[in-house]
């Protein structure tokens, strides 16, 4: 679990040779884990790059781990290490000129990221109530990472919904498919998965210019993003889609136009596709005057993905010539926000990663309804037979807490469903 504060990427973009006397930029980050292996790996990997590193004293580690137990992470580790973690964060905050907020990067399936992550988020809300908090959540594979992942997930989501400002969700299954189909990787490792995730994050949070044609960097990207995308506290689930995404080899043979990229991206949004392959082009936005297709119950396939708000981030060549009319269509959006408010765009002439032209779409839409519903359903089935519940009550999470979580999340599902 990692907490980064408005990572100042500007530093990392400077070309610096790591000669003697060169200053290696330090990430504005706090690393927390209840067992040491991963943090040690992370710290050394960063240092090895020679281009950046983590602060020497920015990590907090224990030995035991949380045993995949949300209750242990939240009720045991949380209070036990609250002060130490808070101090580490405080030190970083003091180094900031102007703190906009926090990114909390965590997974939902295990015990530490999920349980301790939820605890720390709550803590941040108490300590820094004026700062924004965005949780980067790794949504586990549908099957088989951790058996109790559904319990851990619902407990995490329900707690975060109360204490976080926005949840930016990255789905392992989706990223896995991107690696397989788009990046053409045969034997996919977690390293590959994490590369794609890093790309997703970078595509959004790399510096952007603040106004059309200007060369001033956006001062508060996190704040702007929240303002654009989270108009109502009931709707906090955000997702990212990128285009293009491909391996180095394929890139050499491809050329892109904004029209082509945006057309695909729009259809990805509408059909809830996570990548540009296998898009269902049959799905169309509802025609005006006809009953909205999206007001379906979950029993029928949720075909059309209605959005609350969208933020399009364009980077690269000829970025001002891109035609965005497709995204301003009111049919894409729910009725209670005008497209002029629901849709925003950030344009930056500078290319990102290896792509001459690239686009990232951050959406607050119905895209997570089905996965969320599945997790809630599976957790509910398991809870009905009381399986594994003793592992949680052992550490102070009672059946009441489970029921509260179920109730909150059913509410979220229902709210998104009836957009």
């Amino acid at each position: 679990m990692r907490i980064m504060r408005g990572l100042s990427l500007r530093h990392l973009n400077k070309t610096e040779t790591a000669g003697p006397g060169a200053v290696i930029p330090i990430a504005r980050a706090v690393l927390v884990d209840m067992e040491p292996k991963v943090i040690n790996q992370t710290l050394s990997k960063a240092a090895q790059s020679g281009r950046w590193k983590y602060g020497q004293h920015s990590s907090f580690c224990q030995k035991q781990g949380s045993g995949n137990n949300w209750a242990y992470g939240y009720s045991v580790h949380g209070p036990r290490h609250e002060e130490s973690i808070r101090n580490l964060i405080q030190k970083e905050v003091e180094k900031c000129d102007s703190l906009s907020g926090f990114f909390i990067i965590m997974s939902m399936a295990g015990g530490t990221g999920s349980g301790l992550g939820a605890f720390v988020t709550q803590n941040l809300q108490d300590q820094y109530s004026n700062s924004l908090k965005m949780n980067q959540i790794i949504w586990p594979y549908g099957t088989g990472e951790v058996i109790v992942q559904n319990y851990n997930s619902i407990l995490t989501l329900s707690h975060l919904y109360r204490s976080s400002d926005a949840l930016l969700v990255h789905e392992n299954d989706a990223v896995h498919k991107i690696c397989a189909k788009l990046m053409n990787i045969k034997q996919i490792s977690f390293s590959d998965i994490n590369q794609v995730l890093a790309h997703q994050l970078g595509s959004v949070f790399q510096p952007t210019y603040s106004a059309e044609g200007s060369f001033h960097y956006r001062r508060n990207p996190l704040g702007d993003l929240m303002e654009n995308l989270v108009p109502h506290p009931e709707f906090k689930m955000l997702g990212v889609r990128n285009i293009p995404q491909m391996s180095e080899n394929s890139l050499a043979y491809s050329t892109f136009t904004w029209a082509g990229l945006l057309k695909h991206l729009r259809q990805m949004l509408i059909s809830n596709a996570k990548m540009e392959e296998g898009i269902d082009w049959q799905i169309r936005p509802p025609l005006p005057g006809l009953p909205s297709l999206s007001k379906m119950s979950l029993n029928k396939e949720l075909h059309f993905n209605t959005s609350i708000a969208n933020l399009l981030i364009l980077r690269g060549k000829d970025v001002h010539s891109a035609d965005l009319e497709g995204f301003k269509d009111p049919a894409l959006y729910t009725s209670w926000l005008e497209p002029v408010n629901a849709f925003n765009v950030w344009r930056t002439q500078r290319a990102f990663s290896k792509y001459e032209k690239s686009a990232a779409l951050v959406s607050n839409s119905q895209f997570l309804v089905k996965p969320l519903d599945m997790i809630v359903g599976k957790a509910w089935n398991m809870f009905a037979s009381k399986a594994y519940v003793h592992q949680y009550t052992k550490f102070g999470i009672e059946e009441e807490d489970f029921l509260d979580s179920f109730a909150l999340l059913e509410q979220v599902v229902a709210s998104y469903c009836t957009l």
Binding site: K63, I147, F190, N381, M382, Q411, A414
Partner: protein, 507 residues
């Protein structure tokens, strides 16, 4: 981290030497020749672990601390069977860590038993932590549990505390014993209670060797059922093993090794039964091979805690994911592959074969057929050069042929450790919480009832203070209750999986 004494000369007991990282430790001429301690034993005798009639001594081995890179486990080896397995374990652990790290890794300052003390490993173990009793337990659970238990409780606790103090972060006790005899069964289960009281937060994993059908210790059903009650109540996780299955695995391997198939040569170190490359110099006997299998099981179980990987699994996660209800904590284990072919051009199909084999009844360490019973949960602990995509692909492939309980249709827990066992490029340990363990318990109860009905040999037990007939009846009902739980689960096997009505909310 595991540290070995540099010098072969007997050090004062607290003289534990830590090598510098990167330092190579040599055994060289300091190791004395292994003495042939006793004449070879007949096969039938070797197969049963509950010896007491021939062996006069009941041993409690001392406690050795295996220091891991962050958490530690303490191994408690009880009885003859327990100690023999334990010794194989340490041997293989040394071999494994030596292969990874030059600075060898064993941190032991406690002693073991007899022939081990006189073998090449004797300088590694310190004899002061040994407790022996000349009379032995006579294959009597009551003697082991009630007599030795109370007699040695303080001494045992003392040694346990010392071992625990050496650990930075003690996560788990591994108890290794057999069920059918007197010491391992009686005293071993007594220790479980002691561990639970003294170290309530530390997990208790028990590797129990169950008596086979042809076990010639007449009272083994009594011993086993009395031990079962303790396991039900005081163990966090039990890995049942039976000798017959181990023997069948060995026979299978022998068949391949001796079949002389063209082009197939097996790397000797890769045999799951092998001690090749360990410091043990004595000739391998059948029970050595069997014990090595169990030792390999323990090594794989702890591999993720000892080495790096992209998806780690600590021991506390095993209990969390595999034990949905406190009583149902019996895990059927299987290890694959049993050997590696020396053929360098290993086709990718081999990797998938490893996964398939893990579910076949021939690879289980207890007589059980998980494929035709009901899974409550399953853990796959993969070691070596395997990626998450390989793991996921195989789960998808094998899922349709397996039956999982309705509320845990995706009951998979997985881990990836980068370091494979010696001689392999990859390996897999599967732990199944599956109703296929039931027949073992049913058979045990039947054998018990047959004996108990005739009141055969009962007086040996009842004459021990603290033992009454109620001990037996309670043990029997405890076992019956457990069997009922499994029966109830089995009854749900062919029922259709229905989604339960969800909470309805006002929109």
């Amino acid at each position: 981290m595991v540290t070995v004494r540099r010098s072969a000369l007997a050090q004062p007991c607290d003289g534990k030497l830590f090598p510098e990282p990167g330092e190579v430790l040599s055994y060289g001429s300091d190791l004395r020749q292994r003495r042939d301690l006793r004449s070879p034993r007949p096969l039938g005798e070797l197969r049963s672990c509950a010896r007491g009639i021939q062996r006069r001594r009941g041993f409690l081995s001392a406690l050795s601390g295996q220091r891991c890179s962050m958490t530690q486990s303490v191994i408690v080896q009880v009885g003859q069977c327990g100690n023999q397995i334990g010794c194989c374990f340490w041997d293989l652990a040394l071999r494994e860590h030596a292969a990874v790290n030059q600075a060898v890794l064993i941190d032991m300052e406690e002693g073991v038993v007899n022939e081990i003390l006189q073998g090449p490993l004797r300088d590694v173990f310190d004899s002061k932590q040994l407790i022996t009793d000349i009379s032995g337990s006579g294959n009597n659970w009551a003697v082991g549990h009630k007599v030795f238990g109370s007699r040695y409780q303080e001494e045992i606790l003392e040694k346990l505390r010392k071992s625990a103090e050496h650990c930075d972060c003690l996560q788990c006790f591994f108890v290794i014993h057999s069920m059918g005899g007197g010491t391992g069964s009686g005293l071993g289960t007594y220790l479980l209670k002691v561990l639970e009281d003294e170290f309530p937060e530390v997990y208790r994993f028990v590797t129990s060797v169950y008596p086979s059908g042809e076990d010639d210790v007449i009272t083994s059903p009594y011993n086993s059922i009395l031990a079962m009650k303790e396991l039900n109540e005081h163990a966090d996780c039990v890995l049942p093993i039976d000798n017959q299955s181990l023997f069948d695995i060995i026979s299978k391997i022998d068949l391949v090794v001796n079949s002389g198939k063209l082009g197939t040569t097996i790397k000797p170190k890769s045999l799951v039964t092998s001690s090749a490359g360990t410091f043990k110099k004595w000739q391998e006997k059948p029970f050595d091979a069997m014990n090595n299998i169990v030792a390999n099981l323990l090594l794989s179980l702890t591999s993720s805690a000892r080495f790096e990987g992209s998806l780690n699994m600590d021991l506390n996660e095993i209990s969390m994911n595999l034990v949905p209800f406190p009583q149902l904590h019996y895990l059927v284990s299987s290890l694959t592959p049993l050997y590696t072919l020396a053929d360098v051009n290993v086709p990718p199909r081999r990797l998938d074969q490893m996964f398939s084999d893990a579910f076949s009844k021939d690879h289980q360490l207890i007589r059980a057929d998980p494929k035709h019973s009901l899974y409550l949960a399953c853990a796959l602990m993969v070691r070596g050069n395997v990626q998450i995509s390989d793991l996921r692909r195989n789960i998808e492939r094998l899922k349709p042929s397996l039956q999982f309980v309705s509320w845990n249709q995706e009951g998979w827990k997985t881990s990836l450790c980068s370091v494979p066992p010696v001689g392999h490029s990859h390996s897999l340990l599967a732990l199944a919480n599956n109703t296929c363990v039931k027949p073992t318990f049913v058979e045990l109860r039947e054998r018990f009832l047959r004996l108990y009905k005739k009141k055969a040999h009962l007086h040996h037990y009842l004459q021990i203070e603290g033992m009454e007939e109620s001990c037996f009846t309670e043990a029997e009902s405890s076992l019956s209750a457990l069997i009922r739980e499994y029966n109830q689960l089995d009854a749900t096997k062919s029922m259709p999986v229905e989604d339960l009505p969800r909470l309805s909310v006002a929109v």
